[in-house]
């Protein structure tokens, strides 16, 4: 089984983002990790290849040279090798991203399955799996929290809200966007981390892959979200503070 996992190199969700200029941030000050939702994708792919007994899991990343560290730590989860399509553009538009991933996979081999995370936590666009599927002319399901692959077909479950779930059926190969609940991503052990250091990571320049690929971020401005300045505290006994809260909320037409 030949599985490709698209992995994004993103700022750690716990990191503070220091903005600079109109639409940029200080990348040097931030710790980067694999996009948290992509970890479910890596884990699922590794488990499928382990169960199948043959094949490989190839990680594909579009990002800066530093993304090699993110690829290494995900290779330690059991993936076979990595492809890094290099760009210095921090906010690559989603159309270019999908085209770059598509071209890199196509050049490398023939996918039986393609995984991505359901959304990247930096740009929050949620569209790469769909655009990839369109480029490959394959079925796609996103926000998948349960998956069964059997003889050329896939059955995926996605949450609809209010605890309801949708069961989708499609043929393989297909593109699956993963989310929490699908599996428990493993913590790599020391020997796995050592092994990952020797795994192959092939680097490609975006322009070499396809000269027509030109990232055009459509980002005009990036601003910090104004933080609340601190709570107005309700005072007195439990009953008194509750009464005060209800009064305050009513005045503000929140109730």
């Amino acid at each position: 089984m030949q599985i490709y996992v698209c992995l994004k190199h993103v700022p750690d969700t716990a990191a503070n983002i220091t903005l600079k200029g109109q639409a940029d941030y200080e990348a040097g000050a931030v710790k980067f990790v694999a996009n948290p939702y992509d970890e479910y994708a890596v884990e699922e792919a590794v488990q499928l290849v382990e169960k199948d007994g043959s094949g490989e899991v190839v990680l594909v990343t579009l990002g800066p040279s530093e993304a090699v560290t993110t690829l290494r730590s995900s290779l330690a989860m059991g993936a076979t090798r990595g492809l890094l399509v290099k760009t210095d553009e921090k906010f690559c538009d989603s159309k270019t991203t999908a085209r770059a991933l598509h071209a890199a996979i196509l050049q490398d081999g023939s996918p039986d399955l393609i995984f991505t995370g359901k959304v990247a936590v930096d740009t929050e666009g949620s569209q790469t799996p769909y655009r990839l599927a369109r480029l490959f002319d394959l079925p796609v399901a996103n926000e998948v929290s349960a998956l069964a692959i059997n003889d050329g077909s896939a059955v995926a479950e996605r949450e609809l809200g209010a605890g309801n779930r949708e069961v989708l059926e499609m043929k393989t190969p297909c593109v699956i966007g993963t989310t929490k609940g699908l599996n428990e991503p493993r913590y790599p052990k020391f020997p796995d981390i050592m092994k990952a250091k020797k795994k192959e990571i092939k680097e490609l320049a975006l322009a070499d892959l396809d000269p027509a690929l030109d990232p055009r971020p459509n980002l005009g401005k990036l601003e910090p979200v104004p933080e609340r300045s601190g709570a107005t505290m309700m005072e007195g006994s439990v009953e008194e503070s509750v009464a005060q809260l209800i009064r305050t909320l009513k005045e503000g037409k929140m109730l």
């Binding site: 969700t13 716990a14 903005l19 639409a23 941030y25 948290p36 939702y37 989603s94 159309k95 936590v121 930096d122 740009t123 929050e124 666009g125 949620s126 569209q127 769909y130 599927a133 369109r134 079925p139 796609v140 399901a141 996103n142 479950e157 996605r158 949450e159 809200g161 209010a162 605890g163 309801n164 779930r165 949708e166 989708l168 059926e169 499609m170 297909c174 929490k180 459509n218 980002l219 005009g220 401005k221 990036l222 601003e223 979200v225 609340r228 601190g230 709570a231 107005t232 505290m233 309700m234 439990v238 009953e239 503070s241 509750v242 809260l245 209800i246 305050t248 503000g252 929140m254 109730l255």
Partner: protein
């Protein structure tokens, strides 16, 4: 005499919206979407749905400013159990009606259909936006899990956007509504088929759609204790959420989780009970209009980042709140 008003109306940019309908009922979150699309009267709003809507729903849509209600139909393909076909029918309708913008809600349904439309049309999609400026052709959305706001440009036609439920408050602006049917002529391109909808036993309000949310953190202690929050939510007309710590401890299902790896919500009122105030939790709820923190620890970080606070044990405060709200209701 030259009719100035009519001239303007005919040239108004057309904005299409895809309605969210559940069991033939129009969801309340649609009205904020109509308001967003209407842009205080600058745009004509065309509402699309695959379902048949009753008179009451039609009147409601008219009251918020929808001037055309269009039922999407097709004889050539199944659009109800195939998201691919539904997206293809929407794309065809967008072309046929000359829509400049197509807006949907950032719900499980809207996110899926609009991403499929974006892929089919090969145009950008502004996902989960909080504000739209049609004049400047920009929209504001979250970047970095709610830590920053990004202004993205809307340069392509049709401009595709999904709007976060409750982010834009509904404002009434009556229009005269006409209903019609659009017969889409599409070849089935169904690659994915919906086989089944697994419904949960208790029909609760979905978190992302709830106007009020009351969330319980890890101190809730056991799953049964969420009943106390549910009782309060029932009086408030809201839904119950959980923090990641509570979900990881097995007290609540992941479908109830608010925050980084859970749901992003934007209710009018968010009550956080026994939630410490981690960055990851705030990422999922900081766009709420009002946040109230209830925590035993007066030094809990949540109090630095919310609007109103009560220092107290949620097992005392919440029942007192429920009781006081019930008394208010009764008289």
């Amino acid at each position: 005499m030259y009719d100035d008003r009519k001239y303007t109306e005919e040239n108004m940019p057309k904005t299409g919206i895809l309605l969210e309908v559940e069991n033939t009922e129009l969801k309340d979150i649609n009205f904020g979407l109509v308001t967003a699309a209407r842009d205080t009267g600058a745009n004509e709003v065309l509402a699309f749905t695959t379902e048949e809507l009753g008179t009451e729903a039609q009147n409601d849509l008219a009251r918020y400013g929808v001037s055309q209600l269009i039922r999407l139909r097709t004889d050539s393909a199944d659009i109800t159990s195939s998201p691919d076909n539904c997206a293809a029918a929407c794309v065809q309708a967008a072309r046929e009606y000359g829509l400049e913008y197509c807006l949907g809600l950032a719900t499980a349904f809207g996110r899926d259909i609009f991403a499929r439309m974006a892929a089919l049309l090969d145009v950008e999609l502004a996902a989960d936006v909080l504000q739209i400026d049609f004049k400047a052709k920009t929209a504001v959305k979250s970047h970095f899990s709610g830590k920053t706001m990004a202004t993205v440009s809307l340069q392509e036609t049709p401009g595709l956007l999904t709007v976060r439920p409750n982010a834009i408050s509904p404002v009434e602006q009556p229009a005269t509504l006409e209903s019609s049917v659009f017969q889409a002529d599409i070849q089935s391109q169904a690659k994915v088929a919906v086989k089944e909808i697994k419904t949960s036993d208790d029909r609760k309000m979905d978190l992302t759609e709830a106007p009020i949310i009351i969330t319980g953190g890890r101190p809730i202690g056991k799953p049964e204790n969420y009943a106390m929050l549910q009782e309060c939510a029932d009086v408030l007309g809201g839904a119950v959420g959980a923090s990641r710590a509570a979900v990881d401890a097995g007290y609540a299902p992941h479908s109830m989780q608010v925050g980084q790896t859970g749901k992003t919500v934007s209710p009018n009122l968010y009550l956080a009970c026994g939630v410490s105030g981690a960055v990851q939790h705030f990422a999922g709820m900081k766009t709420s209009k009002v946040i109230v923190g209830i925590n035993k620890d007066k030094d809990a970080p949540i109090f630095e980042k919310c609007d109103y606070g009560i220092v107290g044990d949620m097992f005392e405060v919440v029942p007192a709140l429920t009781k006081a709200l019930q008394q208010e209701k009764q008289g």
